[in-house]
Symmetry: C2
Subunit: 201 residues, 2 copies
Amino acid sequence: MRSSVKQKEVREAILDATDSLLSRYGYKKMTIDDLAKEVGIGKGSVYLHFTSKEEIVLSHIDRIIEQLKGKLAAIAGSDEKPEERLRKMLKTRVLHRFESVQHYTQNLNDLLAAIRPSFLARREDYFSQEARIFASVVEAGQQSGDFATGADAAEIAESMILATNSLLPFNLTVQELGARKDVEKKIRRLADLLLQGLCAR
Amino acid sequence: MRSSVKQKEVREAILDATDSLLSRYGYKKMTIDDLAKEVGIGKGSVYLHFTSKEEIVLSHIDRIIEQLKGKLAAIAGSDEKPEERLRKMLKTRVLHRFESVQHYTQNLNDLLAAIRPSFLARREDYFSQEARIFASVVEAGQQSGDFATGADAAEIAESMILATNSLLPFNLTVQELGARKDVEKKIRRLADLLLQGLCAR
């Protein structure tokens, strides 16, 4: 028991170190040796947890998404109006990621180019997990009469995820990643459009 | 005069050859020599038009976008209802690109990873050019009373571009690029959401 707790701590420490080293060296220059040194363990201990540098970085991104899902679920479970919950969730899915990579934006191109194929495949899972949380709120809004019924909640949720994906770090230039106010403005406008459309009332 | 026409033809021929060779070899393996041979000109003649392989590929993408802008302007100028025009334009901006890279989807990851920074910067121009065409239709719809007024047409147009960017080839996996029906379904649903929002009527 004790040892498995410790193993979990080591894993977390490796991911923390990944965060620092990505910002300090970037993906290409970061080595498993550097990571082991940063944590204060042997190189072999790193390999007890991960098989490769790519897997470490993907797990590091997984962790960012786990934190995000926690935030989204908390908003989804709040008692605000469904429209307001969705607005906050849309903003959160963009800004949580934005903040998570904020300190290594200069190195992000390098990282994403290196792990592109496996990262793209992984993203699909992230998106469906997020979509499920969004769908629960769309459904709640349809049942309460806040939203028009008839449309499929899961499909609407999927479209909302799709629509805001362009504001995720993967799609932003280094300049855009430096301009938080700009990204905030864009997600606010986009959320308005998604929630209200163009319909004349 | 005659010679400038011919120069334009050579330039187009180089871009046509780029399209074939990207599909045959991919970006990394394609050389300026290959391109010159494919066109039937000397390597020096290629350099009269372009300074590097990267510039050639970016110009090849520029050409795809020029064709797209022609299609968008034609729809924007038609006499259908503004909502219908926007729906078709959203679909066209996704599917035109989709079809343009259809024959080299296997090599697209390689290409986009190689030219990522300059491509990302270039995209910004494409997006604002498209947004201007969309804004003209949003404005028309606001004036005709089809859309709610009050919101800024240029901002709405920008949000529509942003919202559909996730369906552009840059964001799709090789599998997704092979699944046209799926992409068509996604853009249809997304366009519905953008045009009608979630508002109960």
